[in-house]
Symmetry: C2
Subunit: 219 residues, 2 copies
């Protein structure tokens, strides 16, 4: 995926924020005003670029009508995985859905039993919840370099029973992190795969959202 320029990123972020705040998209002139462009065409160009780079989909002719290709970003520099981009519906990427909320909607494969707690609440149907699937994460930062997971890589997370040594996406005290699962006896730890980071993290309540099964690297 081609990289965005600073301004493109800013505009995309503004649009997302606008949707999040108002529940409808900004018009081109809204964006123009926000960034103090003298011409609407400045915005128009950026939007074309955003569409060409595949992060934004415009609906030709329709006003205030866009779709966003969800970006799920695992920012490992601060060990927080955050979700960027509205929309609840999964968009398939190589058969793997890029889901909406990274921090919500995934099974609790905690130690005990085979009980599964899906917390996904899809907007679409308004009734039943969707079964959890594999999902993709794009990685930022370098805290997993020991595991050969680098900045810009895409990690495929699959639900399943995590075992010792697995790299997992886990919720710890409300934050989602990507770490290696360490089991010693009946105790469980999470370990950052970067020697510059502090070692074992003691874990009391552990919610594992999935296991990193494969890494997609851009060439």
């Amino acid at each position: 995926m081609e990289e965005l320029t600073k301004k493109q990123r800013a505009i995309l972020d503004y649009m997302k924020a606008h949707v999040a705040e108002h529940t409808y998209w900004p018009s081109i002139r809204d964006i123009q005003a926000k960034f103090r462009f003298a011409s609407t065409n400045a915005v128009f160009g950026h939007l074309q670029a955003l569409e060409r780079k595949g992060v934004l989909q415009r609906i030709p002719g329709a006003a205030r009508a866009y779709k966003i290709v969800p970006e799920i970003v695992a920012d490992l520099s601060d060990n927080i995985i955050r979700y960027e981009g509205p929309g609840e519906d999964a968009i398939e990427l190589n058969g793997i859905p890029l889901v909406g909320h990274i921090a919500a909607g995934f099974p609790d494969y905690t130690e005990s039993s085979g009980v599964l707690n899906t917390m996904q609440a899809p907007i679409s149907e308004g009734s039943r919840r969707r079964a959890p699937q594999a999902f993709a994460l794009r990685v930022r930062g370098d805290s997993m370099i020991d595991a050969d997971i680098h900045d810009g890589d895409t990690v495929i997370i699959e639900p399943g029973q995590a075992k010792h040594g697995d790299i997992v996406a886990a919720l710890i005290d409300g934050e989602t992190t990507l770490k290696r699962l360490i089991k010693q006896g009946n105790k469980t730890y999470l370990q950052a795969a970067n020697q510059n980071y502090p070692d074992l993290t003691p874990v009391q309540s552990l919610v594992i959202q999935g296991i990193a099964k494969s890494v997609v690297k851009s060439i």
Copy 2:
């Protein structure tokens, strides 16, 4: 809240579905086409009615720009709480936010320790997660009549440490239910407060989203 006519409800539902599917609002003409009106003004009138009745907010002059007053419906007849209405942002109702997703974003006050797992991933900021708050549920059905919670009532759910006897909104095997929490020794059960419903539900993995602290009844 004034009741909606059948057509108004249908139009509102269509608009919601459209947003959920496309991530942008339908134009008046879209709605006109959907319902085969001969004039856009038919739609216009319905939209005015929806706004007057307080379930829809229009942004004057702007195209495809609306806000919805979220309706959160706890359908106790099948013990499933489902969310209707898009939008992630909390809208305050008597100081209590009507949150977007009932099934996502609330703390895990599971047995152990004081550890708190917030799973909310707000769209708005795109970075940190929002602290959980109290939220309101509108109740449908009658499975809690023993607790004097009836159809049409609004229940205020607050996060906190649930104790024996509390009525809680809980996630069980992926479904959100509203039941009474029963603790016997070190075992935990959920009980429907309706004698017509099966009794104790054995619980292995329990995620309590909040405690029903008060009930608002329409007179």
